[in-house]
Symmetry: C2
Subunit: 351 residues, 2 copies
């Protein structure tokens, strides 16, 4: 029996509902696969901020630095500004633990209605998003506040080290998939950073002669994701473009409630963080109707990272089976199933 | 008879085919509406660059500065780098003539198949894109080329003057439409420039109490354009976000070959430029099969700018009628109609 210590941060809203749902499944599957997860639960959240004035304690990062992984539900609250909720928790974890890969797989499951006609169950791609530099930078500011001459600037920063490692990650991933990489760019409009991105992609691609690759401007790429989603295998994209592509792709897959994500530190110098793409969804929080698939699938990605590939495969297979074999659909998919009913169906179907 | 002097730049590829098609229609309609267009044709293009080493002459902007409008087909050639073709022609025209509004209307015509299930003929919105500042800036650069420490930076620049005028334009436009504005932001990730954008939007919105408005992060917004396109009326967006939204929306409308665009200098200190969203499409150039709708509709926008509202309405109505009443579809829409056949159908249907 291998034991893994997990830092569990349920967070706000439906985060409180989908993390226990996911943990129930991870634990059940663990019994057959010889692992046990022990959870240290942290109340870091907007709720905490409203009580004590901080999303996490001052030494928060030190408290979770030695865990094997971080499992996070969702953070956000309409009454708490984003710069507090995100830049006080999510972004510092991503950056201080050098989780420079944000991995977002997309599949269209048989039985799940897609808003896009061309989206069949052949759609199976993954967005490899750079997660610690690029357009989301701390560098910039404002001057002449409130005056006609006021302006704001923000510096996008791309380093050779940063672009190289994300590109290498994407191309290596493609080797184990369908050997195709699509790089998102906008070098025709953004003329300093994006041509640099393109150059590094082209250079690194030279080291992967078995991988076919193309580059597309982000505007045209968004159009193609809607017109012909099945053509893609692995995307590699900057922080901003990866964010846009993965939300769009989650919509194509039927609901943002199903999209999983991993924030990976591939070198394992620090723990990686696993957090579904969806937010805290205050409008449906507390009703037990959230779609648990995003969190469950995210949990499967955590198992994969911890070395339990077969357990992860089993869970992903179970998700596909519930959609293919039952009519259970949560509200985001137009159904009436509860979170608990969906989880029970997963537990029933798991071997 | 009013006469308007048009600077005509057919450009490259299908630009050479769709501009004459559009001009034929504008001229015919003019006979009934009491205007005449006189064209000065300029060979500015990648073809020119390959012959003489420049997209346009050194005094190019001066040659067209006093025209009533600029009508441009498309520029681009796979053998000519973007920084030459775009930053040597398109971008200087946009900037030097302070065409700070890029206006991109989207409609889903009855009879045109959309890749998106929810896209019905109720979809009718317009993207108001900031066109001269923001993420597309000349400011930035690279250091330590080729070394491990290499980096590239690019400064996004937003001024109070620049954001104010585009926001005012969008809100004023919404007054004559369905009184709704959606502002595209990403202030949760891009923490200097986008919160500034949000603040200016909120301030200016105060002056338009009759307009309902919301703001959405660009990632979620792209998802919503696919999930529920009919809910939108007027978008206001930065240079980059407007570019992304309008390409995505053009795909939702069925084909990028149908999307029109106007680069407007609302103060009329300089000529405005009218150019369809599509590119030069070298793969189909010279075959007479390009969709002329993007250019024809763009021409209608030019007429509207020149004061010929009824003529513009008539042309837009004719486009809708050809789709509703005939089976003529160009190749981009899965049909076999030629450019000429489609133009003939438009001429037949025009009063
Ligand atoms: C060609 C390119 C610079 C341009 C842009 O992004 O502005 C194009 O995509 C457009 O939308 O007109
Ligand atoms: C919350 C926000 C900062 C975040 C991002 O853009 O990174 C979110 O959209 C995501 O994709 O995880």
């Amino acid at each position: 029996m291998t034991t893994h210590r997990i830092a569990l941060i349920p967070g706000d809203g439906i985060g409180q509902e989908v993390t226990p749902a996911a943990c129930a499944i991870l634990d059940t599957v663990g019994k057959r696969h010889g692992y046990e997860l022990t959870y240290d639960t942290f109340d870091w959240s907007c709720a905490r901020y409203r009580n004590v004035g901080a999303m996490m304690p001052g030494d928060g990062l030190d408290q979770i630095r030695h865990h094997d992984a971080i499992f996070l539900g969702a953070v956000g609250d309409p009454a708490v500004p984003d710069h507090v909720s995100l830049w006080g928790l999510l972004i510092p974890i991503r950056r201080q633990f050098q989780q420079y890969v944000n991995l977002r797989p997309i599949r269209v499951f048989d039985g799940v209605p897609s808003p896009v006609r061309a989206a069949t169950s052949e759609v199976d791609f993954v967005v490899v998003r750079e997660n610690v530099e690029g357009e989301y930078s701390e560098i910039g500011g404002r001057m002449n506040r409130g005056f006609p001459s006021e302006m704001a600037v923000q510096e996008a920063v791309f380093t050779r080290a940063g672009v190289t490692r994300i590109v290498d990650y994407a191309f290596t991933l493609a080797q184990g998939r369908r050997q195709h990489v699509t790089s998102a760019t906008k070098s025709n409009g953004i003329v300093h950073t994006m041509p640099f991105w393109d150059e590094v992609v082209a250079e690194r691609a030279g080291g992967f002669p078995d991988i076919a690759w193309t580059q597309e401007h982000i505007d045209a790429l968004c159009a193609k994701v809607v017109l012909d989603p099945a053509r893609f295998d692995v995307f590699v994209a900057s922080n901003l473009f990866g964010d846009i592509l993965s939300d769009l792709a989650a919509a194509v897959a039927g609901s943002i409630g199903m999209a999983p994500a991993a924030n990976l530190n591939p070198e394992r110098d620090f723990p990686s963080m696993f957090e579904p793409v969806h937010g805290s969804a205050p409008d449906i929080a507390g009703q037990g109707v959230a779609n648990p698939v995003g969190a469950v699938w995210t949990g499967a990605m955590m198992l994969r990272h911890l070395g339990h590939t077969e357990a992860a495969d089993e869970i992903e297979q179970a998700i596909a089976s519930v959609f293919a074999k039952t009519n259970l659909r949560t509200r985001d998919l137009g159904g009436t199933a509860t979170t608990a009913q969906f989880v029970d169906a997963l537990l029933d179907i798991l071997p």
